[in-house]
């Protein structure tokens, strides 16, 4: 019954979204306040009905209702509750429902907090957001309905892919989708502005919080996914340049570029049409990402051909939104002339360079991801583009970006002097070089990766610190410290995000360069050494989990005769899906992780064991968290809160009239 109600709610939400798409748009064109005002209640009602539909599906999973097809295919009564809940979006249909739920959520939030927007702009923004909803409601209802029943309910379900039964991956999709779909709001603002034919500093200020929010969610989502791969896949890889990963990475790169160019719009009223274009492209890449993941096109061209309906439907959505938006852009971009005048050496120019590097690096990822398809379709060559390509083609952009960042971040607006800014950073540069040289001297191998990573990372982190310090004026140290605390949160946000980037860059380089690996057959009671550690396999036991069989080893880790820790690497066999998984034992420490995996048993009683010493592993995700936290600081900056306050004052003023 609840399932049917959910189904009806979804259909109702679809119809409301159609109204929300059409009526306010006409209202805004004709200047009819009543028609424009439809947008707000429509957005909120659409959200409530979608939320109900999503809740109904979740209830079907929680109560293990095996008369619902989706639950049969993706759940099992013995599955832990957390994974029953996350099973709601651990499949195609459910994840698309989550997607459209978030579209509706953002629309509703914009309708509540968008009080200060001019009525026509607000109506148009919500109408565009509604149109995105319409497309995806139609997609769900016509090709991927999650509420279908089965005629003969089976006794139990077929279980969720065991790899997905993990807390990291349970929350990875919601964050990622909040990011992907958050960019839909930026897109709606861009389209609305194109229809209005007006982009000014105020527009830049309205768009920025939405972009920031989407960017924060994307950052956390990608970091969670990468951390999951690190601990779950069994050898500690954290980034594979897989098409699905690239699909989430490209919107992130463009959102990063957009954040920076929107600053120029907000402060200097320049780069307007470029910012609009970026907003369109960022969301288009979100759609492309959805298309790539959902159509199975890149996993295999054949998988796509097997079930083309969904893929083609998303391709249409992609074509309509991207094509329509770009056409509109081509028609209207001319009307947005820049106002701000600035010299060749200025913050604005530095931000343009940032955008060039980010946009081109995104293009490289895009080209590499799609090249296998192009090569097969056009040149009849079946080839692969893997991590070696991306590492070679993408990394240089990040290196240059890292080199430019501290200088660009310190350049004054309008007109600066390169020499003066560089002079401020002289000690930081020397420090970074010294650290790099020290790393070079201390390491055993000959790889330049580690030292260069340390140089770049410390250049960014300490450069950012100098930037922050330079904002505190010229008084004594105590006065400057007091000012440091009172600096606008946006300044702190910028500093933290940039430092986070530096930390992540250093960590990736350090981990890649200084990792140690050991593969061997270990025998119970016979210690062996990896790096400075002595490992002893003490025993191996078998047991039963809720929905799997487990083989778990006890490994004693000691260093110089002292016990460091006991580690319990495990492997699991899930009988329902017939899949094995590894549960690596990881000893997380500040400077390094110890990573132990147990493999198969040998005939002579030994066990295959892999041991890795992974320096700086936690720093990779620590840096990402720092970036996300910086975004959060920036989002809570006074100028956005003041904008909300001003809005309220204005509204009461209008009421008093």
């Amino acid at each position: 019954m609840i399932t049917e109600l959910g189904h009806f709610a979804l259909i109702l939400a679809f119809l409301i979204a159609i109204v929300q798409m059409v009526v306010p748009l006409i209202g805004a064109q004709k200047r009819w306040p009543g028609w424009m005002a439809v947008a707000e209640p429509a957005a909120q009602a659409q959200f409530l009905f979608t939320a109900f539909a999503f809740g109904a599906l979740m209830w079907a999973f929680i109560s293990s209702d095996f008369s619902v097809r989706l639950v049969v295919l993706n759940s099992h009564s013995a599955k832990p509750m957390l994974y029953k809940i996350s099973g709601t979006w651990g499949n195609h249909e459910g994840s698309m429902l989550l997607w459209v739920f978030i579209v509706a959520l953002f629309g509703a939030v914009a309708s509540v907090f968008g009080g200060g927007l001019p009525p026509s702009l607000k109506a148009r923004v919500l109408a565009v957001q509604g149109s995105i909803g319409v497309a995806f409601f139609a997609f769900i209802l016509f090709t991927s309905n999650p509420f279908l029943r089965v005629a003969l309910p089976p006794f139990d379900g077929q279980d969720l892919n065991p790899l997905l039964q993990d807390p990291g991956l349970a929350f990875h999709p919601p964050f990622l989708y909040l990011g992907y779909v958050g960019l839909s709001m930026t897109f709606s603002f861009a389209i609305a502005a194109l229809i209005e034919g007006r982009v000014d500093a105020a527009w830049g200020r309205w768009v920025r919080p939405w972009t920031l929010a989407a960017w924060i969610f994307l950052t956390i989502g990608i970091a969670l996914g990468s951390w999951w791969a690190y601990y779950e896949l069994g050898w500690g890889g954290f980034w594979f340049w897989d098409p699905v990963e690239n699909a989430s990475f490209m919107p992130w790169i463009l959102a990063t570029a957009l954040l920076h160019s929107a600053v120029v719009v907000e402060k200097r009223e320049a780069l307007k049409s470029w910012t609009i274009l970026l907003a369109i492209l960022a969301f288009s890449f979100s759609l492309t990402g959805t298309f790539i993941v959902r159509s199975g096109l890149l996993t295999s061209v054949h998988a796509f051909a097997n079930d083309p309906v969904r893929g083609v439907f998303i391709l249409y959505i992609l074509a309509v939104f991207t094509g329509g938006a770009l056409t509109l852009f081509a028609l209207r971009a001319q009307s947005m002339e820049a106002k701000g005048v600035f010299g060749l050496v200025s913050r604005e120019s530095a931000l343009v360079i940032n955008n060039v590097l980010l946009a081109v690096s995104c293009f490289v990822v895009f080209f590499g991801t799609l090249w296998p398809i192009v090569a097969e379709l056009v040149f009849d060559r079946k080839l692969s583009v893997g991590p070696p390509y991306f590492n070679a083609a993408f990394t240089p952009f990040m290196v240059v970006l890292g080199l430019v960042l501290p200088v660009g971040a310190m350049l004054p607006w309008k007109r600066g002097k390169l020499g003066r800014t560089a002079w401020n950073l002289r000690y930081v540069f020397l420090l970074a070089v010294a650290l790099g040289v020290a790393a070079w001297a201390m390491q055993t191998g000959k790889s330049a990766l580690g030292p260069v990573g340390l140089f770049l990372g410390s250049w960014m982190v300490f450069g950012t610190a100098v930037d922050l310090w330079s904002r505190t004026g010229r008084s004594g140290v105590t006065g400057r410290l007091a000012r440091l605390v009172r600096l606008p949160r946006a300044d702190w946000g910028k500093a933290l995000a940039h430092a986070g980037m530096g930390v992540t860059v250093f960590a990736i380089a350090g981990l890649t360069a200084w990792e140690r690996e050991d593969i061997r057959v270990a025998y119970i009671g016979q210690p062996f050494e990896v790096g400075a550690y002595t490992l002893t396999l003490e025993d191996v036991g078998r047991s039963r989990g809720p929905n799997y069989f487990s083989t778990m080893a006890n490994v004693r880790i000691s260093k110089a005769g002292q016990l460091v820790t006991m580690m319990r690497p495990e492997k699991r066999e899930y009988p329902v899906t017939q899949m094995p998984t590894t549960e690596a034992a990881i000893d997380y420490r500040f400077l390094r992780d110890l990573y132990v995996v147990i493999g198969d048993e040998h005939d002579d009683g030994g066990w295959v064991m892999r041991t890795y010493i992974k320096p700086l592993a936690s720093w990779i995700w620590g840096g990402c968290l720092l970036m996300a936290f910086g975004g959060l600081m920036s989002l809570s900056d006074r100028r956005y809160r003041v904008a909300v306050g001003a809005r309220k004052a204005k509204m009461t003023g209008v009421a008093a009239e």
Binding site: G234, W235, G237, F240, W241, D242, P243, A270, T299, E337, A338, K339, G340, V341, F342, G343, L344, E348, S349, V352, I353, N355, V356, A359, V360, S361, F363, V364, F367, G368, W371, A375, V378, F379, R381, K382, L383, S384, V385, G386, P387, P388, Y389, A392, A393, F394, F397, I519, R520, V521, Q578, M579, P580, T582, V597, G599, D600, V608, R610
Partner: protein, 160 residues
């Protein structure tokens, strides 16, 4: 014919991997490791650039599939025989097609792939330079006049 052969390999591979999944083997096994550490290091580096044909975007170095294991052993055999890195890779590409290369070659249309980044960067830099030059030399434009609605609102406010 070559296409057909590849398909066949893929088909067999898929069947094998389906079986292999139940009796699992995890990435590089201790019994595969070569005695000579220098040779083993070369093998590890090379196998990071070779794709496991039946997996989703995994190199044979990371993969658990039986086919990847066979390829790892084949690669090591070639190195032990005395092949150079290039010869060993060529040997495998001859048998499995260029699909095994995770680092795409530079021949044929692939130059497009490798030059895409640099060419795009050059174009973007030229465009950015033109834009920045334009901004630096642009005359200051005065604020545009208020539109009708804003004029009306201003009048309203002034009249209050």
């Amino acid at each position: 014919m070559k296409q057909f052969g590849l398909r066949l390999v893929l088909l067999i591979g898929l069947t094998v991997s389906a079986i292999a999944l139940s009796g699992s083997a995890w990435a590089v096994q201790p019994d595969e490791v070569l005695e000579d550490p220098a040779l083993e290091a070369r093998a590890r580096d090379l196998s990071k650039d070779l794709r496991c044909l039946v997996c989703r975007n995994e190199s044979i170095d990371e993969s658990n599939a039986e086919l990847a294991r066979d390829l790892r052993i084949l690669l090591r055999e070639r190195l032990v025989v005395g092949d150079s890195d290039g010869e060993a890779i060529d040997f495998i590409v001859d048998r499995y097609g260029e699909y095994v290369l995770l680092r795409p070659s530079t021949n044929g249309a692939n130059w497009l792939l490798w030059s895409a980044g640099p060419v795009m960067l050059l174009m973007a830099l030229i465009m950015a330079a033109a834009y920045l030059r334009g901004r630096a030399n642009a005359p200051k434009i005065k604020e545009p006049a208020l539109n009708d609605a804003e004029q009306a609102r201003l009048k309203e406010l002034l009249d209050e």
